[in-house]
Amino acid sequence: MTRVRDLLLRATNPTATVFVLLVLVFAGVFAMNPGFFEGPSLMAFLKQAAPLVILAAGQYFVIVSGNFDLSVGALVGAQVVIAARLIDGEESRTLPVMIVMVLFGIGVGLVNGLITTALKVQSFITTLGMLMVLYGAIRLWTGGAPTGSLSESFRVFGRMGIEDVPVLGQIPWALLIMIAVGAGSVLLMRTRFGRILMAAGDNERAAALSGARVDTARTIAFVLSGLSATIAGILIGGFAGVSAQVGDGLEFTVITAVVLGGVVLGGGRGSVLAAMAGALVIEALFTLFNQMALPATLRPAVQGAIIIAAVAYAARRRTRPVPTATATPS
């Protein structure tokens, strides 16, 4: 009896929903085009999905601790433009510039985190402001359109891979980086830091009274988000080169992905693995649209409807809270 209930509970649990959804979307893709699951095309899909998955991991840390990060799209764009301008095609500059990018990503995350925690500005506003600042500042710096170019070695991570692998063809570096980031994130959530982050998002007061440095943990979450945007920037820049529109609107896509993964806005609930799966669902959905030859203009509408439906489904058990007080005597 309990076993049946357990199974039911697990299948309808928001975290599990995303994996069911993933299977469904992939089944749809398979039905349209069985060739999609051949090694090379699957690898290509994962290579292209990797940046969003990595961003989802970064965003997860911020959301699970009870905040938002709307600045990641602008940060990805900024990082690619910074890379192009500073490297300017010189191979020798690749590594130093990457270090600069990492520092910049950390810096942006730190500023987001400190403004949110120390100045008590809601993260929605902090990161919205940061979005505007980054968008404007990077264009001020480059005169409106990206200048310079990326070096070949910079592009290796997003574009190349281990070649001539049997069956799979190429194993993209991006996939390996995604797996590494994913594994790192899962492990990080199992560390003391991860548990504290989760507790802080769930019950800030209980965490603080247990001695947790809630503000520090939340700030680190923003830094991790900044780092994930940096990695995503390196991958996207590597994958496709520089263009003026890189990163536009990514923040909304990635928050959607994380929420689709069953992570609750407001914090304390959801797993990082599911958040990353949410990103895969989104990418797979785009692929499915493409396979179905759904008119390009109609896709946002279908995407919007699916998101609302998925979140409403996940939220259905949380609605209608019993208006009475606690069920325990006092």
């Binding site: 500005v121 506003i125 902090t126 919205l128 505007m132 968008y135 001020l140 929420v259 998101i307 939220a315």
Partner: protein, 332 residues
């Protein structure tokens, strides 16, 4: 018993109008140093004109934010409304009332959808309205390949006519703002919005139908977005599907929080929002007059918004302290 009623809320609102005066003064000086005059009629007209569009959107946004909700779909609603208006009017003056009715109906329904999904399905408003925005975008992109419809010259006056230096659209915006202030003060539904945003449990325990109140706020927010769409149509002379690319929703949210309304709901008001809108408009005009790089404007806006909210947050902190039994100095 004849004390002024909103005296308690005057504090923050006064601060914002003070800030507006400060921005005007600083802008005036900067422009004067540059050899211009910020308060020349042309510049005043420009400032006032810039308030109307964001103004309409921000008024509705204030209502939903007061209820601790959010609407990220207003830009899309406005774009759709501009098309509904222009295609319904189709160049005929006789169709204007019908078009206004159609716009308010469509935009109200969009708001009702947002409100219902948020209030009754328990979906976070961020997700609801983001999704609604995408749905409208999909419809617009599929249905309209560009500007469509034709707004009769008579209705274009809404966007272009002025009374003295004051554009009609600004007058209407201020009238809607006044109506919203009155609505929040004098109708039960409006008044209950503060309660729903302040503490939904207290509101429920006081017999307020919280779901309906939230729904009403979203409907009104949709309708002000509809009015913004009417203004767009009157200024464009046609309906524009791509108007959503300007991210008006973020401007509106920025104006609302700049105006002192708490993003977490329950505190603030439309008077502050109008000042927030005005501050953004003054900044725009000053930047234009000073020929400052458009990208510098984005940077400064971001900084201004964060700084303003940080200041409000600081003021908010003092309020939460418990009352002391042994105040320092009084005790032995």
């Amino acid at each position: 018993m004849t004390q002024r009623l909103h005296k308690p809320r005057l504090g923050t609102t006064a601060l914002i109008y003070l800030a507006l005066a400060g921005v005007l003064a600083a802008g005036g000086i900067a422009v004067a140093v540059d050899g211009g005059n910020l308060f020349a009629t042309a510049n005043l007209v420009d400032m006032l004109t810039r308030t109307s569009l964001t103004g309409f959107l921000a008024i509705g946004m204030t209502l939903v934010i007061l209820c601790r909700s959010l609407d990220l779909s207003v830009g899309y609603t406005a774009a759709l409304s501009s098309l509904v208006a222009a295609t319904t009017m189709d160049g005929q003056v006789a169709n204007v009332p019908l078009a206004i009715g159609a716009v308010l109906l469509v935009s109200g329904l969009i708001g009702a959808f947002n409100g219902a999904v948020t209030a009754y399905l328990g979906v976070n408003p961020f997700i609801t309205t983001l999704g609604t925005g995408l749905i409208i975008k999909g419809y617009l992109d599929t249905q309209y390949k560009g500007p469509a419809g034709d707004v009769p010259v008579m209705f274009q006056q809404f966007g272009y006519t002025r009374i003295g230096p004051v554009p009609v659209s600004t007058v209407v915006m201020l009238a809607v703002a006044a109506a919203a202030i009155w609505f929040l003060r004098s109708t039960r539904t409006g008044h209950h919005m503060y309660a729903v945003g302040g503490d939904v449990d207290v509101a429920r325990m006081s017999g307020i139908r919280t779901g309906r109140t939230l729904l009403a706020a979203h409907v009104l927010c949709g309708m002000t977005a509809g009015v913004a769409g009417l203004l767009l149509a009157s200024r464009f002379g046609t309906g524009s599907a791509t108007a959503y690319t300007s991210l008006y929703e973020l401007d509106a949210i920025a104006a609302v929080v700049l105006g002192g309304t708490l993003l977490l709901g329950g505190k603030g008001g439309v008077a502050g929002t109008v000042a927030g809108v005005a501050i953004l408009a003054v900044l725009d005009t000053v930047f234009n007059v000073l020929q400052i790089d458009p990208f510098a404007k984005d940077v400064l806006r971001g900084v201004v918004i964060i700084a303003a909210v940080a200041i409000y947050a600081r003021r908010q902190l003092d309020r939460t302290a418990r009352r002391p039994r042994f105040a320092e100095g009084r005790a032995s």
